[in-house]
Structure formats: C-alpha cells, structure tokens
Symmetry: C2
C-alpha cells in the first residue's frame, strides 16, 4: 500500500474515489477498456451484499436460475422501446469456432428478451403462475465513459424476472421489490435511499413504469442504486407469453424485472468514505474487527500473543482478522486498515495485557474520540454493541447529510442555484419539456417521484403551471 495521503474528498471527490477503489484493493482496471477486475476484498463485500439480498428474495418466494449469456440479435428487435434503448450499447459475437455466424449473438445487456422467450415455453396455464425467478449474472453494456463499480462494460448484478396472471399482482411485485431494495440499502448498507417512480424520460426501455431507490453521495450527486420495473404486457406480447385462464381463455401474462448491481459498492464508498479512506457498514464488511498485536521485544511478544489468541477465540462469532505481519509497523497497519474501512480495530500491547483490557478504535470516529479501553472479560458483548452502534451511526450521519442537502427552493432561480450542490424537492407538472430545460441549464435530472403523494397542489418550479406532485431533482452519476 502506498503511504501517500488520499486526495481531499472536498476538493477532488472523483480522484479521491478512484484512489480508494485501488488502494483499498477493491478493484483494478482490466486490460480491456472499461472492464474491471473485482479483487478479493471487493468481491467479499459483494458476496455479503449477495447473501443479504438473496435471503430477502428467497424469503419472498423467489428462486434462482441461470439463463444464457448469448442472445440472438433478432430478439432485441421484438420490443420497440427496448431495441431503441439498448442497440447503441451492444457487444456482438460474430465469430464462433473460427466461422462467421449466420446470426450474430448479443452478450446480454439485460435478460428480459431471453427470459421472456423461455417463459413463453414454460407457461401454459394460470397454474404455472406466478413465476418468480432471479439470477445472479454478469452483463455487458458498451458504455463510453466508465468508472470502476459505477459504470463498467461488464458488471455484476442480480436480475429478477417475474410473470403474473394479473396486472395488480405484477404491480404489487414491482413495489415489493422496490421496498426490499430500500430496506436492504437502509438496514445493511446504511444508505438512507429515497424510493420513488422514475419519470417517463428516465424509465427503463420497455417498461410501463420504473421505480428506483436514489442515494445521495458525499459530493451531493445522486446515485440510482436499484430499479424495479413494471413491464405491463409489453414483453409478454413481444415474446408471446400466454396462459389459459380459469375460463380456458388465452391471456397475456404481466411481467416485472428488477435489479441491483456492483454499482452498490460505489454507493457504499461514496456515502460513508472519508479522508482516511473507505468506511464500511459492519453488517456488510468482509472484516468487522482487525486485531493488531503490539510488541517491541521477544518478552513482550510472549506476553501479548497468548492474549491475542484468546481474544481471537472469544470473537469467533465475528468476521475477524489478526494482522500478524512482521515486515510492517503497527502505524502502517493502522493506516492500511483505515484505508480498507474495517469498522473496529483492537490493539493489544503489554500494558493492555497487564490491565486485562484492550484498546478499541472505531473507524467511524477517527482519533481519540473513537478510542476506548475495554475489559477483556465479555469483550464479545462489547464488540457486538460497538458494531450495532457503528451501523446505526453511519446511517444517522448519512441521513443528516442527505436531509441537509435537500432543498425546497422558492423559485426557479433559487432552484437552479441550489442544484449546484444540493438536491431540490420541488413541484413538477410532469412535462418532459420542463425536465429537458432543467437538464440543459443545470445538468440535473428528475431522480424519482415519491409514492403516495396525495392531495398535493402547487405550481411547477419550472413552468409555473399547476402541479400535483413533487420530485427530487439532482445531478446524478
């Protein structure tokens, strides 16, 4: 690890981000432009995200499966809006086994088409519905401007694809998964996301309605962190997904899709990270506690190491690592684990052993404020409490920051001004022309429209016409 300081996030957030990703060894650049290698520490974080989401999917009746990477190009021409949305982003295989292919194959950018095709084979009767399938997969989109985790040619995600007998059920599923994402982000990643409906101009190509969870990053820009789409009968009609209903009549099914990707890792970095590096929420951290033995002589070593062993056993219920490297100093180790965002550091030196205590330092409160000496007796209980407290503090801090940067400007001038370094929560008439004007003047877009806004009356912040809903406006990743 380099010992140079990170760039100041308040001065150069973008470079601060890039360096954390590399120096915490989360990911690296691949030899192919825009592709990434997710390194073991980053992948362990992703595995924890996967586990936590997967448990939630299974608890709501979903099962996993795996659909093919390669999709016939013609499939993308069957749903009008889908083809327009995705055509510019496709990676196309034209040669297989040394021969030119008769029909080129697309590497999936998303799987509505291929899954729709299979559902049309599997679904015969209302008894086959609902189908509630998720897959963990890699997808490829030919992006021009890429950033590790935030936008890469290949990325990793889960994509849920469900088919239902009625529109009501499909809408219910769409909102259930939006809610699942919101609770995951809030409870596990400590990111206080705002859920809501996407505007027509921001929705998924092929959806009737798209919903998203939107998060505020440390530079106040928005990160769309998960989406859930109600697809109506668009894909069912394009792929002939039909079933016989109770009256033996053929009906088109109603479908949904929803996804969260490795982008979530970018969101975690940019929500919680600080000038010392990454800060990980304990519930997702690959290492929750790092233990650093401190000694300067063989004598001290033989005093300290048995206690380290004892503490290691005592804390076996946590994700713990003992850093017993001998080629670097304790100071180097402190910086290293701070860079990697480990929530809790425990130092054990000869004095600690004499006092039957250990020194515990919280990553979320650098310096003296976060340091305390804790008795070894019942250390496991104390560590458990620390981790719960850190998790809650991270969420609270992020929520305060977010609320501090969501403004309610009184007119369009103020609206444009606040959008430089804030979000605006403002009335919007729903007209795409107003969105376009905002984007042109401020680079901000509508992020989402909160659900259940009833009986609201106001005037569009852009055109002044009557408006019945408020939307979040922000510059976004």
């Amino acid at each position: 690890m380099s010992t140079e300081k990170l760039p100041n996030p308040n001065e150069n957030f973008s470079e601060w981000y890039n360096q954390i990703v590399q120096r915490a060894e989360l990911a690296d650049y691949a030899p192919v432009r825009g592709c990434m290698v997710v390194r073991p520490y980053g992948w362990a974080l992703w595995e924890n995200i996967q586990k936590s989401l997967d448990d939630r999917f299974k608890a709501t009746g979903h099962v996993n499966a795996s659909f093919p990477l390669l999709i016939p190009q013609s499939f993308f021409e069957k749903e009008k809006e889908h083809v327009e949305g995705f055509s510019p982003e496709l990676a196309v295989v034209t040669i297989g086994g040394g021969e030119k292919l008769e029909e080129p194959l697309v590497i999936r950018p998303t799987s509505e088409t291929i899954i729709g095709y299979m559902y049309s084979k599997w679904i015969k009767s209302y008894r086959d519905l609902p189908i509630l399938i998720n897959q963990w997969a890699n997808v490829v989109r030919w992006e021009m401007r890429t950033r590790l985790f935030l936008r890469t040619l290949e990325f990793f995600w889960q994509e849920g694809h469900t088919a239902h007998a009625t529109s009501e059920e499909a809408v219910e599923e769409t909102l259930r998964m939006l809610d699942t994402y919101a609770s995951f982000a809030t409870e596990e990643a400590a990111i206080p996301v705002l859920p809501g409906l996407k505007s027509d101009s921001e929705k998924f190509a092929g959806a009737v309605n798209s919903y998203s969870i939107e998060a505020m990053m440390g530079d106040t820009k928005a990160l769309q962190s998960g989406t859930s789409h109600y697809l109506g009968q668009n894909f069912a009609k394009a792929f002939n997904i039909q079933y016989l209903d109770l009256q033996n009549q053929l009906q088109y099914a109603w479908t949904t899709s929803w996804g969260v990707s490795t982008r979530m890792i970018g969101g975690i970095i940019m929500t919680h990270g600080d000038a010392q590096g990454l800060v990980l929420p304990p519930r997702l951290a690959p290492i929750q506690v790092v233990v650093i033995p401190i000694f300067r002589s063989e004598d001290e070593k033989s005093t300290v190491l048995p206690v380290v062993e004892q503490v290691k056993k005592q804390l076996a219920g946590f994700r713990i690592k003992v850093d017993d490297r001998t080629e670097v100093t304790p100071g180097f180790k402190f910086n290293d684990w701070e860079m990697r965002g480990v929530p809790l550091r425990i130092e054990i030196g000869p004095k600690d052993v004499a006092n039957n205590t250990v020194a515990v330092s919280r990553r979320d409160k650098p310096g003296k404020e976060g340091k305390s000496f804790i008795p070894i007796v019942n250390l496991d209980t104390a560590v458990g409490k620390f981790l719960v407290d850190i998790q809650a503090s991270l969420l609270e801090k992020a929520r305060a920051f977010r609320d501090n940067h969501i403004k309610d400007p009184k007119d369009f001038d103020e609206f444009c001004k606040v959008l430089e370094n804030n979000w605006a929560f403002s009335f919007w008439c729903g007209d795409a022309a107003c969105e376009a004007k905002v984007k042109e003047l401020t680079k901000a877009t509508t992020r989402c429209i909160p659900l259940n806004q009833s009986d609201l009356k106001g005037k569009c912040i852009v055109c002044g016409k009557p408006a019945h809903q408020k939307a979040y406006f922000a510059k976004a990743y």
Copy 2:
C-alpha cells in the same frame, strides 16, 4: 410433468439421460445452439455444490474474486500450446457499441491468460506469494456436439488460479486441490471417483502436468469430473509474472489452475439415476424430504393437515417441502418426486395419524423394500439417520458397480473386448502411439494414471514393452 415412462436406461442410456434433465426440470435448451438454461431445481443443486466446494476452498486459504469475461485476442497467442488447444473453440466479439473493434475480444474459455496478466501487475515480491484466488464464473467454448450439462457452449464452473514462489509449493497445491475434488465427489456427491495423472496427450493445453478425478457412469463410460493443473512457469513466462526473491533476484512464479463445472450435475444424474428418474445424494439434494398429505374427504383433511404442520415444524432442520397441490393425485405426486430424485418421501394419511406414525419411502430403494412406518415421536432423529444411510448406500452401490466394471485383462484381445462395456486397468508403457492405437481400435482413451505406483513392473498391454505404471482405459464423455 409427462406421465409417460422414461426410456429404459439399459437400452437407451442417452435418451434416458436427456429426458431426465428435462422432466426433472433441471435444465432446458436455449434458443442458441448448444446453450442451456439451468432451471431453478437444477440451479438449487448447483448452489449446494458451490457452497460445499466453496467452504472447502476457503478452509484451505483461498479467496474469491472476479476477472473479466472479455479477453484481448492477442492474449491467446502468448502461450504456444494454449493457443493451439483453444483457438478452434473461441467465441469472438468483433462489434461493440455499433462499431467494429480494433482488436477483437474473446469470451473467456478459461482464464489463465487474463489472470496471468493481472498477477504480473500485482506480484512484486516473495511477500506477495502465494496468491490463492478462485472465481465462480461462466465460460464459453464453441463445441460442436453438445449435451445439457455435459458439454455446452456456455457452462458454469469455478476456476482456481494460484501463483507460488517455488515449484514444490505449486505441485503441492495442485495435488491438494485434486484431493479436495476427490473428497468432495466422494463425500458429497456420493461418486467414488478415481484420481490420477492425465497422459500427455490428454492434458490441458499449457500445463506441465494435469490431474483429474474420473467417474464411472451408469453406462460404464468415464466422465472427467474435475481437473487440477500444474502449469510450471509456462504462463509466468508468457505473461511475465515475476517476483523479487529473498536475495533480491527476479524469479518467475510457478502457477496452478483447477476447475469443477456444471458437468458434475451430469455426473450425479448418470451415477445414481434409475428407471424412475433422478436419484439425488441427500447432502446435495435441494429438497431432502417431501411430505405428501393423503386425504379423500374434508373430514380426513382436517385430521391430516394439523399433523402435516407439526411434522413440517419438527423437520425444519432439513430441506423439506410439503406438496399440497390439490389439482393432482397423490400417485402423480409420487411419480413426480421420484423423477426429481428427492431422497425421502413421507406420506401422512388418516390411518397414520391414528397410529401416530408416518409412512417413509426411500428413493434409493423403490417399492416395499424402502418403505417403513415410523413413529412421529423423534421423527427428526429417524429422518437424519435415513439421510445418512441413503448417502452411504448410494456411494456403496456406485463403488460396487464401478469395481465390478474395472477389469484386468490378460492380453490385448481381451483388453479390446472388455473395453466395450468396462474400464481396463492395465500396464501402459507411456508411449502416445499405444494410446492412439487403443483409441483407433476401441474408442477408449487413457483416463488417468493413479498416483504413488511404486516398484511396479509389467508389460504394456498394447505393445508388450516394459511398463512401470498402470492406467485406467475407458470410453469417455
């Protein structure tokens, strides 16, 4: 599910296999030739395989990561044997984002090249070694003849890639993983594999030595079920993986790679399956116990269902499913779950309730032999014992079948004859010409050469020259 009988495996093993895969809903054909959809039941089986292998990898110090799907074509030209081995099988992306690419990109058929490239960036000193990384990934090989699970264009696997400071360590790692695979196959999949060295003509393109675990299928053909490769310095030299040793001298690293794929699912089907369908080893079965309520009236229903609920709670420590479908008969359900290979079936009817028992049927012993009536008190203990016993019985049965079909022919004529429906375990001089002759005359190949054959002296079964090792010969998938 179709109610037609399966083809007799003794008459048409191949069609029997194809139908089980489809009718047990393990996998389906994708719209692209040679690609498969792994359906939820098949994927759940794969997830159990993954979990079990992953635990073994982590217990031996490995970590997971993820390397890119797309590899510059030029990477395949850097290792001479590797390029010859894989060139005919590549799927090539030539168009990205609507533009022709300057350098075509290959979809990984295996990742030695891209991982070698990254290791050359990450490894500087002996302190960075060993690197012990595994990835769970999809790969694509442009195969001509495909079979679901056994050989598909896209398949799923894990590939471990390690780098070491010494040849000894790398060899040790190669053999450790071979052993890991053998114990996984035997203990979890109940497949009594035979581990050993591959001959030069059968080894991985680019390896110094390849090792495999070989399994005997129900038709006596061999299935290579996992491989572990000692790559020497071949890839280190091709990709410049160098480190500074203790004396500050630049040295090339020594690398290994090893993999097990979704092919293992094909191996499980063809090792344990019978005329009624799939038979799954309890340790990997997605559903270990299926409970079928039996009633013919509302009265009986209200007698039976509370006991079903009670049993469900009692067996919560197992992977259990209650089949409460009302649109099909119990007889249909019996056939359905037999086809899907669920190890244990529990029927609960009014008579059982009256007797405080349930009827338990073992999938591995169809009919009366495998059926018994078990008291509901302590049913969980009884079920646990049944599952352990089924697991052991499956292994024992497969081992007896295997040993029964490995012959030690006395001369080349008998050798050729036994190879029609058996394996031969015979002396071989090591000459590739002898292997070629056997292949031409019998279609059989050397499968592997068991390790630790010392002080053996004999005559090659093919040419009669002195030989110091015996090899398994068999027709293979």
